[in-house]
């Protein structure tokens, strides 16, 4: 008997996202954008790179997500001596019916939710092992390729202030992340609330709100959200505007070395679709694209040294592009 395909219903996705955000918000104080971007990436099936100083709740967020979703969760603390096998697993010798033979010992990457903590502390070799798994969603050990569990969601964190003994992710590998989310320092009220919640007798325990099947279903529904041609055109214009040789924007020409890849556009549209659902809509609006443009493109725009010298960040470039790229059609 063939299992019946769940009925496509956008409202279910909306409810899933809202309940997930509400559940996470019980433990994560403030950080609404962080939660929203994380949920969007989860439903879109992408991975997230979280960047923030220590102690802002990055790890708590991932752990909470694991609690709120009935899915397997593993955490990998990246260190300089971490080896690829420590992530993807390895073949070990063992007794099997009186015979000694190699059998595969799965690594921590075999989980639905993986927290790659301080990913930039591992060597490039180890980083690439993880990033290959993120892209292909399979792991090859020896001669055997093994699929990773589905859904497979990686949240990597990195500390922007400690550069000594770190290995910054190469551009090509950064592109594998769906979003790069900056974790801001909380405001004063949020700090007070964090203190109240985490220094008392007990910390809140999260209830599971969805399982893997629900997340997979939501991912399929999100891809069905219609997008109009002119909105698609706007996304293309945004991506084109990030390229210094194809834009009229002086800031881009001056500060950008290389613009966003086509994968960036895919990210933009997919994230826009999820956001539309989260907003209770069944079509992608310009606002959706604008809202997700910064986390989707900030790690895909590579700046010149001059930008660093002038203190220009990618977020500023994206902000200019959003401001100056026309949404309205050319004529009345």
């Amino acid at each position: 008997m063939i299992a019946e395909e769940p009925r496509v219903d956008g409202t279910q996705v909306t409810e899933l996202a809202q309940s997930l955000e509400a559940e996470l918000a019980r433990l994560i104080v403030g950080q609404k954008e962080l939660l929203r971007d994380t949920v969007i990436a989860l439903i879109a099936g992408g991975h997230v790179l979280l960047e923030g100083v220590p102690g802002l709740g990055k790890t708590v967020l991932v752990r909470s997500l694991g609690q709120a979703l009935t899915m397997s969760f593993s955490r990998i603390q990246f260190t300089p001596d971490l080896m690829p096998a420590d992530i993807v697993g390895t073949n070990v010798i063992g007794d099997e019916a009186g015979r000694r033979e190699f059998h595969y010992q799965a690594g921590p990457i075999f989980a639905n939710l993986v927290l790659a903590d301080e990913i930039n502390r591992a060597t490039p070799k180890t980083q690439s092992a993880l990033l290959e798994a993120m892209q292909e969603r399979t792991v090859t050990v020896g001669t055997q390729t093994r699929p990773l569990p589905n859904p497979f969601f990686v949240l990597a964190t990195q500390n922007p202030i400690e550069l000594e003994g770190t290995y910054p992710l190469p551009e090509a590998q950064l592109d594998r992340f769906f979003f790069k989310v900056l974790v801001p320092f909380p405001g004063e009220q949020d700090l007070l609330e964090i203190a109240r919640r985490t220094t008392g007798e007990s910390t809140p325990q999260l209830k599971p709100v969805a399982d893997a099947a629900t997340v997979l279903h939501a991912q399929r529904v999100a891809r069905e959200v219609p997008i109009a041609e002119h909105v698609l055109g706007y996304a293309a214009r945004l991506i084109t505007a990030t390229h210094p040789d194809r834009t009229q924007l002086d800031g881009v020409k001056r500060y950008v070395r290389w613009g966003a890849s086509p994968r960036g556009m895919q990210t933009l549209i997919l994230a826009g679709k999820v956001r539309a659902l989260l907003e209770g809509r069944y079509n992608v609006a310009f606002d959706d694209l604008s809202a997700v443009a910064t986390p989707a493109l900030r790690h895909r725009i590579f700046l010149q040294f001059e930008a660093e010298a002038d203190g220009i960040a990618a977020d500023k470039i994206i902000s200019d592009i959003l401001e100056r790229t026309p949404k309205e059609p050319g004529r009345e």
Binding site: V8, G10, V221, E224, V225, P226, I227, A228, E229, H230, V231, E279, R281, Y282, N283, V284, A285, F286, D287, K327, E328, P329, R331, E332
Partner: protein, 535 residues
């Protein structure tokens, strides 16, 4: 819940209203700008039909705006997109419209969602009828500016009036030439040069009409007059004088008296009479022959034309030798020369008539050119005005024992003060008349023609230029001669008027300063040479 078609119809109506208002203002801006531009240009350069052009531009601008409104209607997709943006519908309508025929998993839900949101929204608000304040202000400013330009005095109006006056003047001048043409065409005495005269006048008339200004038109008159002058025979005065001398000589003979009268009347009649005389030679008495031979010899001695002198001499000698047939042959030669003289006189008359027409045109054009130079070109008949006056006279006077014939041309100019001058040239007896009238009451006096004759009888008083009239003081009025209808004036009486007229003419700005000095110098030298006596 309305359908997408209902929504698009509603949006179309609202957009049409809003665009109509906007394009109407566009049209008004264009119309006001056009009118202002035309009026502005009309202040910088002469623009005759500015009012028409400005007014025509208004409906044209509005029509263009209406056409643009009609042709540049936005498509349904564009309307949906604009409604989405302006009503904050988050691209719901445009997505639903674009995918109205799609049947994707979420398309139905999306369309329902779009229709629900549209139903809660007043769609016409996406296209409000609104007039751009900037444009409305621009229309007001342009309208005020245009009104000011229309009402304030335009310096180009004077230029336009001058142009109009120039054209009128040129038309009048051309008409004068045309009249001269018609006069020659209607003449009872056609001459061989008539076609050439007609062509010269026709060309001059065309040049006058086509000229850009009276001044330029004037330049075509002198060459035409020179061409006409070349058509005349310079030997005509000598031949005419010889004919008069012959008439005078024959008038003292019994046989030739009738021929003398005929010659005085006209050369053609004289020729016939001389032929009759030749045919009667055989029947004449010896006494008459001798008397006739003496008269012919006398005429031969006085003849200035060599051919005439030879013929008369031959006739005289043949008669004295009794060779009547040779004498008759010689007299027939004389008759032929009289016929030729008649022909030349006719030609001269035609040429004189043509020159008179050109002179009339010259006066008209010169007066207008002078007004233009004084800045009064656009005010015809204001201040001093001039009217051309011209007279021609051709006459032959005969009196017993003497005869004279001649022709003269006269021209006169009149000014607002009622003065006029006339000039005339001619030989024999003749008269010239001229008249002119001022535009505002000024009238010109008659011109005068002068002529000379010879062979006067003792009772005849013939006016000879440069000689006092016998028995008449300089101040006495000149009596009328045969064939004259105007009094003759001695040179000494008219030279002052001529000089004054010439000097008045030199005051016109049309004449260069160097030429004025030349004219003054001419008359002063004339006075030094002639002294107080007549010349």
């Amino acid at each position: 819940m309305s359908s997408l078609d209902t929504i698009i119809r509603e949006l179309r109506r609202a957009a049409a209203r809003a665009r109509a208002a906007r394009y109407a203002v566009h049209g008004l801006v264009a119309a006001a700008a056009w009118v202002t531009l035309v009026l502005l240009i009309a202040r910088l350069t002469p623009f005759e039909r500015r009012a028409t052009v400005a007014v025509v531009g208004i409906p044209v601008a509005l029509a263009v705006a209406a056409l643009a409104w009609l042709l540049r209607r936005p498509s349904a997709a564009i309307l949906m997109r604009l409604a989405d943006i302006r009503l904050g519908l988050k691209e719901r309508l445009s997505t639903a419209w674009e995918r109205r025929t799609e049947s994707g998993t979420l398309d139905d839900a999306q369309r329902r969602d779009a229709l629900q949101h549209a139903a809660r929204t007043r769609l016409a608000a996406a296209f409000p009828v609104r007039v751009n304040r900037g444009e409305a202000s621009l229309v007001a400013v342009l309208a005020i500016f245009a009104l000011a330009l229309a009402l304030l005095p335009n310096p180009m109006d004077q230029v336009l009036a001058q142009r109009q006056a120039d054209r009128t003047s040129q038309a009048r001048a051309a008409k004068a030439v045309q009249d001269a043409q018609k006069k020659i065409t209607d003449s009872a005495k056609p001459t061989p040069v008539d076609p050439q005269v007609q062509k010269i006048l026709h060309d001059a008339q065309a040049k006058i009409r086509q000229a850009d200004s009276p001044r330029q038109a004037l330049e075509s008159i002198t060459p035409a007059e020179q061409q006409l002058q070349r058509l005349t025979d310079p030997g005509t005065p000598a031949l005419n004088s010889s004919a008069q001398n012959l008439a005078n000589a024959l008038s003292g003979t019994a046989a030739g008296n009738s021929a003398a009268q005929a010659i005085s009347t006209s050369p053609a009649k004289g020729a016939q009479s001389v032929r009759d005389l030749a045919s009667q030679l055989q029947n004449m008495s010896p006494k008459d022959r001798e008397e006739l031979a003496k008269a012919l010899a006398k005429a031969s001695q006085q003849a200035q034309n060599s051919q005439m002198r030879d013929s008369l001499s031959k006739a005289s000698s043949s008669l004295q030798n009794g060779d009547a047939s040779s004498a008759a042959e010689a007299l027939n030669d004389v008759a032929s020369q009289l016929d030729s003289l008649q022909q030349q006189q006719n030609t001269d008359q035609a040429v004189a008539s043509a020159i008179n027409g050109l002179e009339s045109a010259r006066q008209e054009l010169a007066a207008q050119a002078d007004r233009d130079a004084k800045g009064q070109g656009g005010q015809p008949n204001a201040g001093a005005s001039a009217s051309p006056g011209a007279g021609t006279s051709a006459g032959a006077g005969a009196s017993p024992g003497a005869s004279g014939s001649g022709n003269g041309t006269g021209s006169g100019t009149g000014t607002g003060t009622g003065t006029g001058t006339g000039t005339g040239t001619g030989t024999g007896t003749g008269s010239g008349s001229g008249n002119g009238s001022g535009g505002t009451g000024g009238t010109g006096s008659n011109g005068s023609g002068t002529g000379s004759g010879s062979g006067a009888k003792s009772t005849e008083r013939v006016y000879v230029p440069g000689q006092p009239v016998p028995g008449q003081s300089d101040n006495d009025p000149t009596p009328l001669g045969l064939g004259q209808d105007v009094p003759l004036s001695p040179y000494s009486q008219v030279i002052q008027a001529y000089q004054q007229a010439a000097l008045d003419a030199t005051d016109q700005s049309l004449i260069p300063g160097s030429e004025r000095d030349l004219v003054r110098q001419y008359f002063s030298q004339l006075g030094e040479q002639t002294g107080p006596g007549p010349k």
